[in-house]
């Protein structure tokens, strides 16, 4: 296809900003009839993408990365904040202006099975964007489609075939051809290879790199597979629960992660090398619900490097973990659904499975040597739980064992000369930097 591809690098960013995102928030389900608690999918995000670069967006499922990508190309409307595209705030666009702008930014979707209408021929699929924007005359459109087929490594005679007749990798090529039809500057790639087998995945990644070099495209590459991101991206943004936790040059982040979350995430990737003996931080539990994110730092409920109150600096690590789990259990319980009978029992002040606190305390603290001071606070919390006052119980624990991490959302700290930012309280001068801090679990 493109023999003249330069081998020198992935791509060279020009240094000129193409997309700038400021304090972007995208919430779902606002103003629903009975439920006014929205899903905070994207919750205040800032970054910029330079012309010609590939910005990776990584994170676990439900962290808001896909929503962010969709908001950038206006498939979702932002709740607040702005998306500047060449200086124009596209969240404000509508009608003809919006339609016109859409030529500049396209998307490649995750699932090659579902992203192509299988009642249309490949030619019709790739041609549709051209038709919508009345691109030149029909004859030239058809020629353009054939050219695109060639560009993505398919044959011109595939024009009259249907998506059914292609394999997953080929279908993804069709999706890429459609995205390129209008010669966009900016392409959002939403997990373009996650549904493909490894051997096919490599083909698509190579293609994407070639296309970027050939057409000077700017990519936002959304993925959960970190090795893919490391391979293809210039810079990476790591998302967790609607927030960007760390953002910076790819190699810098992969070699020396600053943020505790990035650190844990990277250490969790299994390496295809049985001899590697990297130390792993296994995170406890699961991410909280984006409907009800924690009050302070989004990562506070799982963070292995969470800041402790001064007086508990030297508590036994197992005990500290037990306390954290205990808080997590109470948090989890407040989210759990209560049956009618349970609610009735609570009203009458009777025992329910939620008020049974003895069992869980035995489970967590049974084998541990609990100092009297800690014990006293646990007793107070347990008393509240028995009286079905979950909120109070949680408050007691938060006041006693919580820290700045539970109270305030951290600022974005610049953590390297290249302008890398990290979203963590530990970058404040009074605390130990995350990368100098040994996680409690490792001690």
């Amino acid at each position: 296809m493109s023999e003249q591809v330069q081998q020198e690098s992935v791509s060279v960013a020009t240094g000129e900003t193409l997309v700038e995102v400021n304090e972007l928030k995208t919430y779902y389900d606002e103003g629903a009839i009975l439920d006014s608690n929205p899903v905070k999918a994207v919750d205040g995000v800032n970054f910029e993408i330079k012309r010609g670069e590939t910005l990776g967006l990584v994170g676990e499922s439900g962290c808001g990365k896909t929503t962010l990508g969709r908001t950038l190309i206006q498939l979702e409307s932002a709740t607040s904040g702005e998306v500047l595209f060449d200086g124009t705030d596209v969240t404000e666009l509508s009608g003809a202006e919006l339609k016109n702008w859409r030529r500049n930014s396209q998307m490649v979707f995750q699932d090659p099975e579902s992203s192509l209408n299988d009642r249309m021929t490949v030619g019709e699929i790739i041609r549709e964007p051209l038709d919508v924007h009345d691109w030149n005359d029909p004859k030239e459109r058809r020629a353009r489609v054939r050219e695109l087929l060639d560009v993505v490594g398919l044959q011109p005679e595939h024009y009259y075939r249907y998506p059914h007749q292609f394999s997953g990798g080929q279908r993804q090529r069709i999706g890429i051809a459609r995205a390129l039809a209008l010669e966009p500057e900016f392409v959002v790639l939403d997990e373009p290879v996650s549904a493909l087998d490894v051997s096919v995945q490599a083909q698509i990644l190579n293609l994407l790199e070639d296309l970027q070099d050939e057409f000077g495209l700017t990519y936002l590459f959304i993925a959960h597979d970190l090795s893919v991101v490391r391979h293809i991206c210039d810079r990476v943004a790591v998302m967790y629960l609607g927030n960007v936790m760390e953002l910076g040059a790819t190699e810098e982040i992969f070699q020396d992660p600053k943020n505790p979350y990035t650190h844990s995430l990277l250490s969790a990737i299994p390496e295809p090398d049985p001899t590697s003996d990297k130390e792993r931080i296994t995170l406890r539990g699961t991410p909280p619900s984006p409907r009800d994110p924690p009050k302070g730092c989004p990562f506070t409920t799982r963070c292995p490097m969470k800041i402790r109150p001064e007086k508990y600096q030297n508590v036994d690590p197992d005990l500290w973990v037990a306390i954290e789990v205990f808080r997590e259990v109470l948090r989890e319980r407040s989210r759990a659904e209560k049956t009618l009978t349970e609610q009735a029992k609570e009203l009458l002040g009777m025992e329910t499975r939620f008020s049974d606190i003895g069992e869980i305390r035995r489970e967590l603290f049974g084998d541990l040597d609990v100092p009297r001071e800690v014990e006293a606070h646990l007793d107070r919390a347990a008393e509240h739980v028995k009286n079905n006052e979950d909120a109070e119980a949680r408050k007691v624990l938060r006041d006693e064992f919580g820290s700045i991490c539970d109270a305030e959302n951290p600022a974005n700290h610049v953590v390297s000369d290249s302008g890398r930012i990290s979203h963590c309280h530990r970058h404040l001068p009074e605390y130990t930097e995350p990368d100098e801090f040994t996680p409690y679990t490792e001690r």
Partner: protein
């Protein structure tokens, strides 16, 4: 959102349905050419009397005011009196006379559908592509295709001369002497004899009325079972060594019941409409018959009130359906907060 909040939301949603349904009825009976005054007076009423009656009935008021009165009355359950059908009788007392027969009929036809249709469907679904499956499936399709009134006529003529068809077995004198047609005796249901007598009387009509639902439930039941059998958790259950019997009764049965809930309740309100034909053929003067007469005679308040009762019933059945869902399926209303 919890299951019960979801349920509450559904209940709340039934209020506009009730209002809207009643309004449609109002538009149809009041804005249309229905003329109760002529019906009361007969064809030769003089204009003077016509206007007097019209005023008495409140039909000279502006339409919007009639509408407000109508809605307020309905929603305060002030159902008024019949004008034409049985003048000056309250709708309540008419309903109390006619409704029990229909309820008795509907109750048994639902039971027949439930206890024959669903087991047959489940059986067919558990033994797919066997002779018994084919027989049951095909039978279900044909059974569903039979028009109620036709089935009713056939059944009636067969039963009234049953000794000719069943080698001397005489339905009418069997167990309790009854006619095939006529309203069921409902005054003595507490005694065993009275109960059986009423049951025997209603059985043919209930069989006819339940027939279509029976076919439906059978087919949906079969599909539901087949779908459940192919789901992953059945494979997991097999992988932990669950024997076939408890696989069926524990794992398949309850899951297959979930898609059947709307079908079962859906049938219930088809019965409300369908009963009129069966009631006519079997001469059961039930509520369907009453409605039919009221429509023919232009008895506005009776039609409106009966319609409102029907709508109320359907809405109630819908609520029951959501309630059943909430009970059987713990996932209802859950959107995966975690």
């Amino acid at each position: 959102m919890s299951r019960w909040r979801y349920f509450a939301k559904r209940v709340l949603l039934s209020v506009p349905v009730l209002v809207f349904g009643a309004s449609i009825t109002f538009v149809v009976i009041r804005a249309g050419p229905l003329d109760p005054v002529s019906a009361i007076l007969g064809p030769q009423g003089d204009p003077q009397a016509y206007n007097t009656i019209k005023r008495q009935l409140g039909l000279n008021q502006p339409l919007w005011q009639q509408y407000v009165d109508y809605m307020v009355n309905l929603f305060t359950l002030n159902l008024g009196q019949s004008w034409v059908q049985q003048p000056d009788t309250s709708v309540y007392s008419l309903v109390l006379t006619y409704a029990p027969r229909t309820i008795w009929l509907g109750f048994w036809s639902v039971l027949i559908a439930l206890f024959i249709g669903i087991p047959l469907g489940f059986y067919a679904g558990l033994n797919p592509n066997t002779l018994s499956d084919y027989t049951a499936s095909f039978g279900g399709i044909v059974w569903r295709a039979m028009p109620n009134f036709w089935l009713a006529v056939i059944l009636m003529s067969v039963l009234s001369q049953s000794e000719k068809f069943f080698f001397g077995f005489d339905w009418q004198s069997w167990a309790y002497a009854t006619n095939v047609t006529g309203p069921p005796p409902l005054d003595n249901l507490t005694s065993f004899d009275g109960f059986m007598r009423a049951l025997k009387k209603i059985a043919p009509a209930a069989l006819v009325l339940g027939s279509a639902s029976m076919g439906n439930e059978m087919r949906i039941g079969r599909t539901a079972v087949l779908e459940t059998v192919n789901s992953n958790f059945i494979e997991t259950a097999k992988a932990k060594g669950v024997p076939p019997r408890s696989l069926v009764w524990k794992h398949i049965f309850r899951n297959a019941l979930i898609p059947l809930v709307p079908i079962i309740t859906g049938e219930a309100f088809i019965l409300i409409g369908g009963s009129v034909l069966v009631e006519t053929v079997f001469d059961i003067s039930g509520i369907g018959y009453l409605f039919f007469q009221a429509v023919k005679n232009g008895d506005m308040p009776l039609v409106g009130s009966l319609m409102f009762i029907f709508i109320l019933l359907v809405v109630l059945i819908n609520i029951v359906q959501d309630f059943l869902y909430t009970i059987i399926d713990p996932r209802v209303g859950y959107e995966g907060g975690a």
